[in-house]
Amino acid sequence: MRALVIAEHDNRHIKPATHATVTAALQLGGTVDILVAGTRCAAVADQAAKITGVGKVLLADDAVFAEFLAEPLSTLIVGLAEDYDALVAAASAAGKNIMPRVAAFLDVQQVSDVIAVVSPDTFVRPIYAGNALATVRSNDKKRVITARATAFEAATETGTAVIEAIPTVSDPGLSRFLERRVTESVRPELTSARVIVAGGRGIGSDSAFSLVSQLADILGGAVGASRAAVDAGFIPNDAQVGQTGKIVAPDLYIAVGISGAIQHLAGMKDSKVIVAINKDGDAPIFQIADYGLVADVFEAVPELIDSLNA
């Protein structure tokens, strides 16, 4: 069994989800190589080489990969597939964009969002917003897998893998990158934060949403949101936690003014400790919260901020 992990990075730093993906790939029981495709991304290759368990780093450094467009990247990965039994990426926005394209070129049915490796061909994955866990066996000649980063321990960094430059591909010219607007934040990334404070429709306005950010800052945490809060424009889309947003599992998740729809729970119910603050004592979020406080956000959150500051 030979697995190739697709590293996720921004040409400068490797994303922590890559470490969890390596762990998932190692559980397939064979060797694991890692692909770093980008532009002027030698530093990323160096970081990838340190990940424990990685045999070899394949470095495809070319302007064609600068913006990680799915068309050239999938062509590159398909070209490498012959040497591998499994291709593994994180179930992130980037992994979800690229891997099914790779799978279709290889005539493989991808296994999405894997949370456990049962054996080299059998996997557990959530369906119906995490209300059921399906165990599936792949009958294809190769595996194409996306792994849920929160379900696998991050691999450590004790490795010294060799880095090998590989030939690149030409741009098929199907899509053109115009712009990227990255939400600038000094806070930790949602998917790897230890603490998350998430706000919902109950916050009422984008100005009031600063209560949520203040609480997050005191706790050194990230800011999350329900779909309703994002739709209302309180906070950008990349903060959405849930079935169709980000999957998180921090040590502490504080849900403020969030009712607890199954689509939201799907993204956060694996958090270690869940706190809910909601003025409606019947809100479903209380059914999964370790600590519930039935209170108005505008009274409870300032009080909480004060007492943590004290």
């Binding site: 964009n97 099914p100 991808q110 990158f177």
Partner: protein, 250 residues
């Protein structure tokens, strides 16, 4: 511009599903079924393009049992022009769905194919990307804005992990919708009546020459682990005390 939209019939997003006692699957019998919410957004987008004069025909396509006709009729009532049902009672997994849509696209020759980013039953998030690969077309996934222009290109804004990304795609292309693209309309009663007379063609995977044998075997379906019941605290100070001394997360 001709637009093809793929719509899936799924268990309504408000319904809590039950797992069969023998763990062989999810029991969907007698549950309320609806159009996959992301596909409603896709249908709405296509109809808006038509209303804006950017599209001249909107075709909706579903793969599933006879009852998927209801979902297609809903799309017709929203404003689509005609419908195609690829009828099958078998489970069809994303790769095979993509092959079936490709086969229809070969005869219909649309300029754009719109899909939802994810079906809320299997949560695969694959079909659009696979279809784009099989056709050799560009893909714009998770889009929250899509603007076709006169140069046979579409500018899309994509929801990505760090924020938003803008791409320009050449047509023909495949787009998958995210939640912020639009708010789908409800079909009016007169339009529901009119939709009954719109054309709906029925074909089969065999007619289209596609093998839909599942590549993934479902071994079992289980309940996720449940969390142990928590407690309601009486005050902010009690909450802080518990988080510090009991949960030890502060």
């Amino acid at each position: 511009m001709k637009v093809l939209v793929a719509v899936k019939r799924v268990v309504d997003y408000n319904v809590k599903i039950r797992i069969k006692a023998d763990k062989s699957g999810v029991d969907t019998a007698n549950l309320k079924m609806s159009m996959n919410p992301f596909d409603e957004i896709a249908v709405e987008e296509a109809i808006r393009w038509k209303e804006q004069g950017k599209a001249n025909e909107v075709i909706v396509l579903s793969i599933g049992p006879q009852s998927a006709q209801d979902t297609l009729r809903t799309a017709l009532a929203m404003g689509a022009d005609r419908a195609i049902l690829v009828k099958t009672d078998d489970e069809v997994q994303p790769l095979a769905v993509a092959k079936l849509i490709k086969a229809v696209a070969k005869t219909e020759a649309p300029d754009v194919i719109l899909l939802g980013k994810q079906a809320i039953d299997d949560d695969s998030n694959q079909t659009g990307q696979m279809l784009a690969a099989l056709l050799g077309w560009p893909q714009g996934t998770f889009v929250s804005s899509a603007t076709p222009d006169e140069n046979h290109r579409i500018t899309v804004i994509r929801e990505i992990d760090g924020g938003l990304e803008t791409l320009s795609l050449v047509c023909p292309c495949v787009l998958t919708t995210d939640l912020r693209l639009n708010e789908p309309r409800y079909a009016s009663l007169p339009n529901i009546m009119k939709a009954k007379k719109k054309p709906l063609d029925v074909t089969t995977p065999a007619d289209l020459g596609v093998d839909t044998t599942p590549r993934l075997t479902l071994l079992k379906v289980e309940e996720p682990p449940t969390r142990k019941a928590g407690m309601i605290v009486g005050s902010v100070s009690e909450l802080v005390e518990k988080l510090k001394n009991e949960a030890k997360v502060l």
